[in-house]
Each structure stands twice: as structure tokens, then as C-alpha cells.
Amino acid sequence: MKHPKSNPMSLWSRVRCRNRWLVSGAMLLSAFWVAPTGVSAQSLPSDAAPASQQVLRVPCDNTRNEVTFDFAVSVYQRYECVPDLFQDTLVDLDKDFNVIPASAESWSVDASGKVWTFKLRPGLKWSDGSALTAYDYEATFRYSASPSSAWDFTWFYSFIGAGGIKNWSKVIAGDMPPSALGIRAVDDRTLEVETEGVFPPLPGVMKFAFLLSKKALEEHGPYYNNDPDTSVSAGPYVLKEFDPGNRIVVEANPNYTGYRPARLKRIEGIYMSPATFFTAFQQGEVDTVPYERLTPADFKVIQSDPVLKDNYLRHFGDFRTDYLLFDTYTAPFNDVKVRKAFAYALDRESIVKNVYGEIKAMPAHSMLMPGYPASDTKGALKQYQTYDCNKAKQYLADAGFPNGKGFPAQEMWLRGEGPAMSAVYQASAASIAQCLNIKIEVSNKDGKVYMDALNAKPTQLTLGAVSYGMDFLDPSNLLGIWVSSGRHSWKNDEFDSLVAKASNLVGDDRKREQMFRDAQKILVDEVGGVFIAHRWQGDLFKPYVQGDSFRTPDSNGISGKHWGNDWYWSNVYISNKK
């Protein structure tokens, strides 16, 4: 495996190349794609253990509030340890985050740029043998958009503006019936998606086009997949056993005809406390542990053990950034000099080195993590948000608070963070407070209380810390949350205009990317937020857990289970080293 830190120039030059390709991929390649036809069952590689031993055991968090297996029923309360195995989305992503065919074998857009036609693969079936058709997708979208479903992801198709499905906002508001939605099954294999405006990354957004069985939905309601007797799957696995909070067992779907046939015979989800994930891994009770469940002490053990170290595979994850946010509409943060003082008072390098650990994060000087399209791979934005305590003090003095005198004591809210991230934000507050000689008290709030305050208009959150990861791989996503109609109380007309125009721009990918870069420069320079760190994510695997999807590096030299790569679940297998 190539280590990303071993040759940064080489990495970033490759990243730059990839970014151009990604954007053009989203805009041009995704506009008309035809997949290779024919799907054959996946055979086991030569180093695989016998088929009877193809069992992967994964830990499930028994403290999470989960209610469904289906994305279309709830996104934030679905069983996350065995995610989305009972259906395929219209498209998937490859290791370089390029859009690739999944249930849809091809797609195209009409001359208006607003009507997309997705052609489903022939012969798709549900596990009960019935045909999977475009009408299932249509019924799923209608179900999710219906106000009676109260789907927790409705915000997304409103949030993406021009990319929103036509009439989405009116349907979810109850002003139009779900049948008025811009999603139409033309025939069994043809699905039309009409958007509100021109939106080039639309095929990538269809990564979220999960589906429910129309028939099962009508017969058993939205939770039909919670019971093995009523569960029906169009994905590579079927539900075999389910005891919520105790155990989930899925087995390879014998009737599967989709793009990702399973190599594993079975996946067992074993519920346990996140505190015991690593212990269970050491005990050999589970085969993998995600990074967010590894404590600093666990990382020390991993880094000191060559086998564990080689099998901890680090990757971009969802390009998550941790940052501080302000209410810039009221004093003292309505003064950009105060915000700049905060940006220069934060010692990111030290926090990454001493609190996160370098295996888990890199210092952030902007919103977009290097590697994400339109990100600052040259470090050009570092000058706007970097640690320079003298400069920070000067800005605060210029704002009328020499040596912090007269600056009101601040309370910095956290969103129900665990010990590791609380320590990061505590250290961030301490760094700023110490440099500027001001008082910042950190208050870790209940998640719901925090979000209520953040979403309130006007906001009730003066100073807060939070993280955000991508929903889809386009700068319009991660920069879109900073537009003035978004979640943050910061407004810059030029930024709003650049993001809006770039989001809808077709045909000039370089210009589009540059517009996003310009927008990000404004965000950083005007200090919409203070960026702390980009998180490296990763997973720890047993050495016998194999598969190209996470063992082979991507074009940036990064291995690991990449975000949105649903084909991982069919590619993974158990080798004969077990």
C-alpha cells in the first residue's frame, strides 16, 4: 500500500488530475453512460477459503437508535452495520468516486438537461422471484416524498436546489400529491427523473436511489424488511435472522441477478457496546472494526503491532471536516476581524498531532478536504486560516478588544460529542482562549438541543463546533451548506452567487471548478467558519478478510473501504489464511 504521506507532491498532483476527471466525470461521462452488459455470478478467488467458510462477522452498535433496513424509510435510523443489502441503487461509485452503473445499466439526459432517463438492467428480480421494475422505484420515491411517511431525508432533494426532483418541495409540503413527482416509470425498465433545473451531477445523486418493493410495501407496510417472513430483497443478501439489539444474519440471495453478486455465504451482525468492538476483534469474535469505534488507546495498540497496522486501512471516508461556526449576524462575531482572530488563534497542527493523532486527521485550512473536487490541493488557502497567534491578537485588538479586554465570555456548544471529539473541541477552545486571552466555556449539549438551536431562525447558537461529511461528491454539496439559506448564520452575496451559478453550469468543467475554488476562498477569507481538521477514516480488518474493493489502492494510492462503494459488500471474501 502506498502511504499518502510518503510523497505528498506526487499524491496531490494525482489528486489534481483526478479532480478534473471527477468533475468532468460527473458532468460529461455521467450524462450518457452505457454499462457493460451481462452480469455473471461472482466466483471465489483462488486464495479464498471454502464456500462454507465465507462468513463475515461485523460488530453492530447496541446503543444506536435504529428502526429499519431501508434507506427509503429512514436514513439516520437504519441498521448501519449491514447497510443497504436488500436493494441496489440506480448507480454506484468506483474507488475513485466515479459514477458507475448499478441497477441502471445506462442513463442519458434530454436536450433541456432536466429529464434524465435511466434504463434498468434486464432480468432484475426480487428474492421472491417477482420482477423488479421501474414501477418499484417510482413507488419508493412517492412513498418517501409523501408527508405521511415523514422521511428524514426529504431535506436532501430540496437542499440540492436545481438538482431537486421536480415538484419535490411541493409534494413533501403536502401541496401536491406524490403522483405529481418528477419521477416516472415509463415502462418496466425505463425510469424518468425530471429535475427542477439543469443539474449535471444528477446521476451521482442517484446513488441514493434505493428502493422498496411496491408489492411488499402495499401488503405489509414500510417495515416489511424487519421480519424474515415478510422481507423481500433485490440486493445481494436476504434476511435470515433478526433479533434487534442482539443479532442480524443475512445470507447470499440465491435469486439475485444484479450487478454485485455476493461472494460471502453469510454476514453476521453481532450487537455489542462500541466500547468492546476492539476487544471483540482481538478475541476473534468479529472481523472488522470501523475507525470511529477505536479509541486512542486502541490506536496505540494498532500502531505498535505490525499485523494490525498493515490491516488498518485509512481512507477519505465522507471527506469529513470538523469546524467552528458562528452567528455572524450578531456581535461579537458580526465583525470579520473577530472571526479572523479566532481563525489565526487555532493551533491546528498541534491539535492534530496531540489530540486526534495523525492517523486520524490532517489540519484543515478550508472546508473541502484535499482529494475532494475543487479542493485546495496546493495549500493556497493556508495563509487565511493558519496558526499565527500574534496576528490573531492584532485582529482582536483591531476589533476593539486589545489583549482580549472587554471581549464577552463565550459558550461554545458541542453536538452531543463523545470523549474523543470533545477533547478535540476542548483543545480548540483552549488554543483560541489562551492565545487571545479570552474566556470560552465548552458545553456539550444533547444532539437534539444543539440542532434545534442551530436550525432556529434566527439561530440561537452563537459559537459552536460541528462536523460535516459529503452527501454526494460534488463541491455544490459541501459548499452548498454555507450559502445563506443553509444551516449556517453567515452570508456573503458573492459566495452565494458563485455557488449557485457553478452548481448549474454545464459544459465548462474547468470554469465550474474554478468558480467553486473562488467561492471556497471567500468562505475561508471571510471566515464563515474556522476549519480545524479533515478526518481520515478507516477500518481495521482481520488479515484474512480480502477483496479488491478495499485492499487495492485507488488512483491516489489510498486503500480502504471507500464511501458509497456499495459493491464492497459483494467483493469482500474470506481467504484461506483464516
Binding site: N62, V67, A150, W155, S158, A275, T276, D446, K448, R487
Partner: protein, 321 residues
């Protein structure tokens, strides 16, 4: 006695009513609702729909009346955390496991605690007494999740002797899925604190009784030490012990989130915390009422136990003064 019991049952009903009012008012006054999201807000129409579905669009007093009228018929609603089941079914299933854990813990903690307490009392101020006192102090002060992690690290990870949890899933059981090797660590971890409490109370009660005149008289009469112990010391030491022990039982049979989550036990304990974090109103109400009910019943049983232990205690008798 009967009128006393009826009075106590009426009093318990009033306590449950008061608890229900207080809990209902408190949970509705906490900021953040059950259907607030981490990312975006629900559209108003969807929010209105879901609030209507669960009756949350009504004034709070009306919601309370609705809830209680259903609760009196043992219909505690649908948990927001598990919308495909009912609160009664969820509690029924998870509490059964918690009660298993609790009963095993009670058996272990009380047996060991009483034996250690008696032994320490009989060897008062000896090194045995010092060791028992030290261990029982440690047991009370060290949180059970710390004990749990140490037990796992020693007996599962280092020595590989015992499974680290699963409650009946190890396959190494005495009867079907009962009395399995994966019961040992959670029960021991859970039992250490109550065992320490029991040992301390037992020791203190026995030491006090052993200093009484009637014990000295019994010995002077030439009774064997076993008889003195059984007929005079233990019998008279029981009342303070029962008082202390009675309060441990409701705690143990309603579960611990730390023990259950650490040892992969799918019990009721976690719902006390997750219900509050998720603003799962039906589950919050049901779990609080259950706990209040158990405490009320256990106190009543403790009082009844007094009359069996000590004939001088007469429930409901008028005071002579």
C-alpha cells in the same frame, strides 16, 4: 393487616399517578422533540403528519389524559425507537432478559455478601475483617463498567477462559440457553457492588447484635456458638439487613445500561438512557412507571417481611404513644 395493605396499595397508586404527572411534564419541557433530526428539518407537512400519528399535536394535558387512559388498559403505546412493535412487547421481551441477569446477580451478591459479612463480623478486627472491609469498600466505589472491562480483559482477552458476552449465545450452557458460560462475567461484574453493600450491612448488623446483652446471656447459658448465631444473632440482625437489601433488588432487576451494553445483553437497561436521549415519550413513561411500581411493591414486601422476621412488628397497629 388487610386494611393496611389496601392503604398501601392505594398509596402506591397515588405515587404512580404523581410520578406519571412529573415525568410527563418534565419530558415535554426538555428542548428537542422525538422527530427533530440531526441534519435537516422535516417539512412542516411531514412533521404535522407524524405528530398527528402519535397524538403529539394535541395540548400536553390532553396527551397526558390519552396516555394514562390507555396505560390503565396496559396499552403503553408504540416506542418511537421500534415503531414496528409496542412498548408492552418491547418491555416484555427485554425485561425478561434483564430479570434473568438480575436474579442471578441477586443470588450471587446476596449469598456471597451475607457469608462474607458474617465471617467478617465473627472475626472482627482480624486481618480477614480488614480484607473483607477493603474489598467491599472497593466494590462500592469502583463503577461496574470498569469492573466489567477488567474482567473482559483478564478472563476473555488475556486468559481466553470465558466468552466476553452474548447472554446465552455461547452454546456452552447447562440447560438449553440457560446458565451458560457467557453468564459468568456479567453476573460477577454486576454483583460486585451489591455484594459489597450486603457484606457491609450484614457485618455492621451482626457486630451490633453480638454486643447485645441477650447474646451474652445466651452464651452464659452455655448455648453452642451455632445456636447463638442462628437463634439470637442472625434473627435479630435481619431487620436492618432486609431494609438495606430490599432497596438493592429493584435496582438489580431493572438492569444497567453499562453491564448490558458491555456484555451484549439485549435487556431493558439501555432503554432508560436511549429513551431519554431519543425523546421516546412512550418508553420513557413506561420505564419510569415500571421502576416506580417495582420500588413501591418492594417496599411493601419489605414491610411485610418485617412482620415475619420480628413478631413485635405489627403492620397497621396504632401507635401506643
Amino acid at each position: 393487616m388487610l386494611s393496611y395493605l389496601l392503604g398501601r396499595i392505594f398509596s402506591l397508586a397515588m405515587i404512580l399517578l404523581a410520578v406519571s404527572v412529573i415525568v410527563f411534564a418534565l419530558m415535554h419541557s426538555v428542548p428537542g422533540g422525538p422527530f427533530d433530526e440531526r441534519k435537516g428539518r422535516l417539512p412542516p407537512a411531514a412533521k404535522a403528519n407524524i405528530l398527528k400519528k402519535y397524538g403529539l399535536d394535541q395540548p400536553v394535558w390532553k396527551q397526558y389524559v390519552n396516555y394514562m387512559s390507555h396505560a390503565l388498559r396496559f396499552d403503553f403505546g408504540i416506542p418511537f425507537q421500534r415503531p414496528h412493535t409496542t412498548v408492552a412487547k418491547l418491555i416484555g421481551k427485554s425485561w425478561a432478559v434483564t430479570v434473568q441477569v438480575g436474579l442471578c446477580t441477586i443470588a450471587l451478591a446476596f449469598t456471597l455478601g451475607i457469608l462474607l459479612g458474617i465471617y467478617a463480623a465473627y472475626h472482627q478486627n482480624s486481618w480477614v475483617d480488614t480484607v473483607v472491609t477493603f474489598i467491599s469498600s472497593l466494590g462500592v466505589t469502583v463503577p461496574n463498567f470498569v469492573v466489567a472491562m477488567w474482567l473482559i480483559l483478564i478472563f476473555s482477552v488475556s486468559l481466553g477462559l470465558l466468552p466476553m458476552g452474548g447472554w446465552g449465545s455461547s452454546g456452552q450452557c447447562l440447560v438449553d440457553r440457560y446458565f451458560c458460560t457467557d453468564w459468568i462475567l456479567p453476573v460477577v461484574a454486576y454483583a460486585i457492588a451489591p455484594m459489597s453493600v450486603v457484606a457491609r450491612y450484614t457485618r455492621a448488623s451482626i457486630v451490633e447484635v453480638m454486643g447485645e446483652d441477650f447474646v451474652r446471656t445466651a452464651r452464659a447459658k452455655g448455648l453452642s456458638e451455632v445456636k447463638v448465631m442462628r437463634k439470637h444473632v442472625l434473627r435479630n440482625a435481619q431487620i436492618p439487613m432486609v431494609t438495606a437489601l430490599g432497596t438493592e433488588i429493584p435496582n438489580l432487576i431493572t438492569g444497567s445500561i453499562f453491564i448490558e451494553s458491555t456484555f451484549r445483553i439485549n435487556g431493558l437497561g439501555k432503554y432508560f438512557v436511549t429513551s431519554t436521549l431519543n425523546r421516546d415519550y412512550p418508553m420513557i413513561m413506561a420505564t419510569f412507571l415500571l421502576v416506580a411500581f417495582l420500588w413501591g411493591v418492594l417496599y411493601l414486601l419489605t414491610d411485610i417481611a418485617y412482620t415475619l422476621i420480628d413478631p413485635r412488628v405489627r403492620l397497621g397497629a396504632k401507635s401506643l404513644s
